[in-house]
């Protein structure tokens, strides 16, 4: 309620009508007018109630009260509603009855009801005080009241009311009039006044109900949440699977953060520089990291813990290392084993620590809205990628489900049996931490965003395979640093090798997860990989340079990326020959030259065979439905499976003062890299290990899923891989 005093006056005159001063009335206001008067004459009669006109408003008389006796008076209350802003003067008319005393008070109220009857109450008496009983209640009620006296007295509001106007006037013959108005913004049992000296008094109180407050609409569930819940995937896990998707935030909070410098696969480069004393220590111990703005600990997304470059990296260590033969280490000391990530230790923590056990069966969801997605495509290569997007959806948004497994198991040479007893082969491409994703390109109707319809589905895999048993992969894009490829297919096409896929359970896509590698497929069964393993001799060594090629400074086009080996030969030849003395130095240089030449000749297609010595990846073992354990949204049943779990993902879950939320917010959840890769955690989600030249057994980085999806989209569009 807002009270706006407009005008008041007390006039001595011998007149039948009176005009107020000019007033301006706000819109949607209730105007209350109190008029007190006394009739001219030595023996006055009881005054008639006047009429109030003006402003093109209709003033309704609410109530009136008289003071009887020798000096008769009348007090009357009026109300009108002003729907619009208006201005002018009011006229108070008494017909033919002349008044020699007239007082008025005009007040506008907004925020009160502007239609319907108003309750009003009256009282009169003699003495030094008066109370008008106001038997009315209501939330936001306003009471406004007027008192008139037959004397000129100073009136004091009582009972918590606030004075609005007080006017008084007195004739020479000592006949006087006082009009006082007051109000209060709440209900009360009465409106009361006090004054000095006995006087006859009359009062009117008017109750102004507040505008009924419309109940606030229930908070609208964010679109990302509605979409995420609508299409949350049903995961089919292989019976041999040891790990399930977990809350990545709780993984971070239970991990230590290490710094590693190049070369990354030696403990000399971890937590210090070569020559520093052992044991080496992480930048932040487990349990000391903050993964959300405002939560205690050092921020995982800050420069100290979150940054990464080609020469300085960060990695999470959730559990210790092992040599794969029964010896484990939790620390990095001179005698520690650091060959592989310790899968058993990771599994034990998720089994035995309640806080971690409760974080299982969790997905994270992010929705890239159409404007942002189209802009991302417009600024990406190839030129016109935004037009490719519009080929498949009119308002394309990308709904991403991020799935974090705490361990990735990937072997070589096991299917063939050639490396069946080899620990190095079993561990060849295994590492702590494993990010995967299910992404839906949806067509988002402008008038009903929640009615979005999937057009394409993207799933990540650890190795590429063909949908039809051939040699061509589906549309894809790879991220070696994340260890995954994004594959994109039509959503339930009517033809092609994935016709009718993915299968749905109550509208949720069914995804088949390969054992260990967590490759995500839209159908069941094993796949033979198209890729080479990147290892050789049962995983016992990784072909590749022992250090990054860009370690040796050079600029522009020269000298070429193969110079490391050439320099080794020339310097080796000259050095060894020089040590022999005499002419052996130059001959040594020649030895290096001839070796470099033999290696430098480009084998072309006219006589040279390419001999492969690499290992063969094992097949990706996605389960059959009937042997699988499914993780399904609550309430979604899937028949014909071995076991069923439910997603535990929640919004705003509070545990020990920390908040866990499945909806991705890259502003507050600092474990996600920012879209520009300038902040957030950009390191590896599992520890480094030793003797790992190519980083095959190091934890992955979090992938740029949008970039992968768009790149795969361009690939599939150019190869005509998206049937309707």
């Amino acid at each position: 309620m807002t009270s706006l005093p407009l005008t008041a006056d007390a006039v001595i005159a011998d007149a039948v009508s009176f005009s107020t001063a000019l007033i301006a009335v706000p819109a949607d206001a209730r105007i209350v007018v109190f008029v007190a008067s006394g009739v001219t004459g030595i023996l006055p009669v009881t005054p008639d109630p006047p009429t109030v006109t003006g402003l093109n408003l209709s003033f309704e008389q609410l109530n009136t009260v008289t003071i009887d006796g020798l000096d008769r008076r009348r007090l009357t209350a009026y109300a009108a509603t002003s729907p619009v802003v208006t201005s002018g003067a009011l006229t108070i008319s008494f017909g033919n009855q002349r008044q020699d005393l007239c007082a008025w008070s005009v007040i506008a109220y907004t925020g009160v009801v502007t239609s319907g009857p108003l309750a009003s109450f009256i009282a009169s008496g003699n003495g030094t005080d008066l109370a008008v009983t106001t038997p009315v209640t209501g939330v936001g009620l306003t009471l406004v009241a007027a008192l008139t006296l037959t004397t000129s007295s100073l009136v004091t509001p009582r009972g918590g009311a606030t004075q609005v106007h007080e006017v008084t006037n007195q004739q020479l013959g000592n006949r006087a009039i006082t009009l006082q108005t007051e109000d209060r913004a709440s209900a009360a049992s009465s409106m009361t006044w006090g004054w000095t000296g006995n006087a006859a008094a009359a009062g009117i109180a008017v109750a102004l109900p507040a505008v009924p407050s419309t109940p606030p609409p229930p908070p609208l569930t964010p679109l990302v949440e509605r979409l995420a819940l609508k299409y949350a995937p049903v995961l089919h896990l292989h019976p041999a699977e040891r790990f399930v998707p977990v809350d990545a935030k709780r993984y971070v909070e239970h991990s230590a953060v290490w710094q590693a410098d190049t070369p990354f696969d030696t403990t000399d480069s971890w937590g210090g520089t070569p020559g520093d004393p052992y044991p080496r220590r992480p930048l932040a111990k487990a349990g000391t990291v903050s993964a959300r703005v405002g939560e205690p600990g050092e921020s995982i997304g800050g420069t100290t813990l979150g940054s990464a470059s080609s020469e300085e990296d960060k990695f999470l260590q959730f559990a210790g290392w092992t040599d794969g033969a029964g010896t484990s280490s939790d620390t990095v000391d001179v005698d520690s084993v650091t060959t592989y990530s310790d899968a058993d230790a990771i599994a034990s923590r998720y089994r035995d620590e309640p806080a971690l056990t409760a974080s299982r069966h969790w997905y994270h969801a992010e929705y890239i809205e159409p404007d942002a997605l189209v802009e991302r495509a417009r600024t990406s290569d190839p030129e016109g990628l935004d037009r490719v997007l519009s080929t498949y959806a009119s308002r394309p948004g990308l709904l991403c489900y991020y799935l974090f497994f705490p361990y990735h198991s990937e072997s070589v040479g096991q299917d063939s049996g050639g490396c069946s007893q080899s620990v190095t082969a079993q561990q060849a491409r295994s590492h702590a931490g494993d990010w995967h994703c299910v992404a839906l390109l949806v067509d988002e109707p402008e008038n009903d965003p929640a009615g979005a319809t999937p057009r394409l589905i993207g799933t990540t895999v650890s190795r590429l395979s063909s949908d039809d048993g051939g040699i061509e992969p589906p549309a894809y894009s790879s991220d070696p640093e994340a260890g995954i490829s994004m594959t994109v297919r039509s959503w339930r096409p009517s033809s092609g090798p994935t016709a009718g896929l993915p299968e749905l359970a109550a509208g949720h896509p069914r995804i088949y997860v390969a054992a260990g590698t967590h490759s995500m497929y839209v159908s069941a069964g094993e796949r033979s990989p198209l890729d080479f393993a990147g290892t050789a001799l049962c995983g016992s060594f990784d072909p590749g340079e022992p250090i990054p090629q860009d370690l040796i400074p050079h600029g522009g086009d020269n000298p070429g990326e193969d110079m490391l080996a050439f320099l080794a030969k020339f310097l080796g030849g000259a050095g060894i020959g020089g040590a022999l003395g005499g002419l052996f130095g130059p001959i040594g240089v020649a030895a290096g030259l001839i070796a470099a030449g033999a290696e430098g000749v480009l084998p072309h297609g006219y006589g040279l065979d390419i001999i492969g010595v690499g290992d063969v990846l094992d097949s990706d073992k996605a389960p059959e439905a009937d042997e699988s354990t499914v993780i399904a949204p609550p309430g979604v049943s899937v028949s014909g499976v071995a076991d069923r779990k439910e997603w535990t993902s929640q919004r705003e879950l509070e545990i020990d003062g920390r908040t866990y939320d499945f909806v991705v917010d890259r502003e507050t959840q600092t474990f996600w890299p920012s879209p520009t890769q300038e902040s957030g955690f950009r390191g590896r989600w599992g520890q480094r290990v030793t003797s790992d030249v190519a980083g095959l057994r190091a934890g992955p980085r979090f992938p740029d899923v949008v970039a992968l999806f768009l790149d795969a989209l361009a690939d599939g569009d150019n190869r005509g891989l998206f049937p309707a």
Partner: protein, 350 residues
């Protein structure tokens, strides 16, 4: 053994008309269509849905190829169709031009290296309106190029180096004055795998101590390079020059020598990954003997002498030296030194 070629551009011209994605593994050479209407993008080419561009309407596709240099070899293939009189530019690079016209497939090369020169070679060829033809060329990165038509060598070009490659124009020159009067379905470019030599040298079985040996050697090399980067760059230029001159002279000498280099390379590259470095040394010594017998002794090359006598190289030898903690590598080099010495000094050790 590492793959010899790495694809760096692959355009198919299928999919959404006007959007030209690079499908090579690196996906960094996306195309940009200039003055090509949507109608010139045809849905079908060599097969249904394979896409093609009808360059009879003019225009050009351009593509930048970042990070391709230095080129140690290059291979280009373009799939075309057109009437028998169709002519114009198929693909032009910074220093090459593949075109058709007057009954020939033409390749212009701006040579670099020991024998810089410009050359235009032609092979008899006319496009066909009824069948698709794959034309292109392979350059070995040193001195020899082969023009190819449907996989067969149409012309051999010797003695010309390979210039850097930074961008290409497809179906026309950049200046738009030489549009190909036919259709192009597919363009692919490969470079010699720049990681091959390093991968093969270091990608042999070695135990952890040997690997640590090389890490120490590389650390010493890195320290030297950081202290005197100009010296390292200078030595790398000399090393590259002597390798190129040795291979180029052999290639220019005769087909036999060129084939012998290929055979030696094959033997070397197949033996090295097995760790049998004695056999490697034997192969190299025999090859030195083969070259010396034909007047191609590498030690007589001016670029060899320049490297041998270079004070910067000598300082690197003294400071960085050899990775002598790798017994296999040391044994191989010792074997080659002894073998060459016995060839040069048949009467006894020098």
């Amino acid at each position: 053994m590492a793959e010899p070629w790495e694809q760096i551009l692959h355009h198919t011209y299928a999919g959404t008309p006007g959007v030209i994605a690079d499908l090579s593994p690196g996906r960094r050479a996306h195309g940009v269509a200039q003055q090509i209407s949507q109608n010139q993008f045809l849905p079908d080419g060599t097969s249904t849905g394979s896409g093609a561009i009808d360059f009879r309407g003019g225009g050009v596709v351009t593509a930048r190829i970042p990070g391709a240099n230095p080129l140690r070899g290059m291979r280009l293939e373009v799939v075309i169709a057109g009437d028998r009189q169709a002519e114009g530019t198929l693909v032009s690079g910074d220093d090459f031009l593949l075109s058709v016209g007057t009954g020939h497939l033409s390749l212009y090369l701006r040579g670099v290296g020991p024998i810089p020169s410009d050359v235009v070679h032609v092979a008899p060829f006319r496009p066909s309106p009824d069948t698709w033809t794959t034309v292109g060329f392979v350059h070995d990165g040193v001195s020899t190029a082969f023009m190819t038509i449907d996989g067969a060598v149409g012309e051999q070009i010797d003695g010309f180096g390979l210039s850097p490659l930074r961008s290409v124009a497809i179906g026309n020159r950049m200046s738009l004055h030489s549009a190909f009067g036919g259709l192009i379905d597919d363009v692919a470019i490969w470079r010699a795998n720049p990681h091959r030599v390093n991968q093969e040298f270091f990608g042999r079985p070695m135990d952890e101590s040997t690997r640590q040996c090389w890490l120490d050697w590389l650390a010493a090399l890195t320290d030297f390079a950081r202290a005197d980067p100009d010296c390292v760059a200078h030595v790398m230029d000399l090393v590259r020059a002597v390798i190129d001159e040795m291979l180029a002279r052999g290639s220019a000498h005769s087909d036999d020598v060129r084939r012998e280099w290929q055979v030696v390379s094959q033997l070397y590259r197949s033996t090295w990954p097995t760790g049998d470095l004695d056999s490697v040394a034997g192969v190299l010594v025999e090859h030195y003997d083969y070259l010396a017998a034909r007047g191609l002794d590498p030690m007589d090359l001016p670029s060899f002498i320049a490297l041998r006598d270079d004070p910067c190289f000598q300082r690197m030898v003294e400071t960085v030296g050899a990775a002598t903690c790798d017994d296999d590598f040391t044994g191989e080099i010792n074997g080659v030194i002894a073998g060459i010495d016995s060839i040069r000094n048949p009467s006894g050790p020098s």
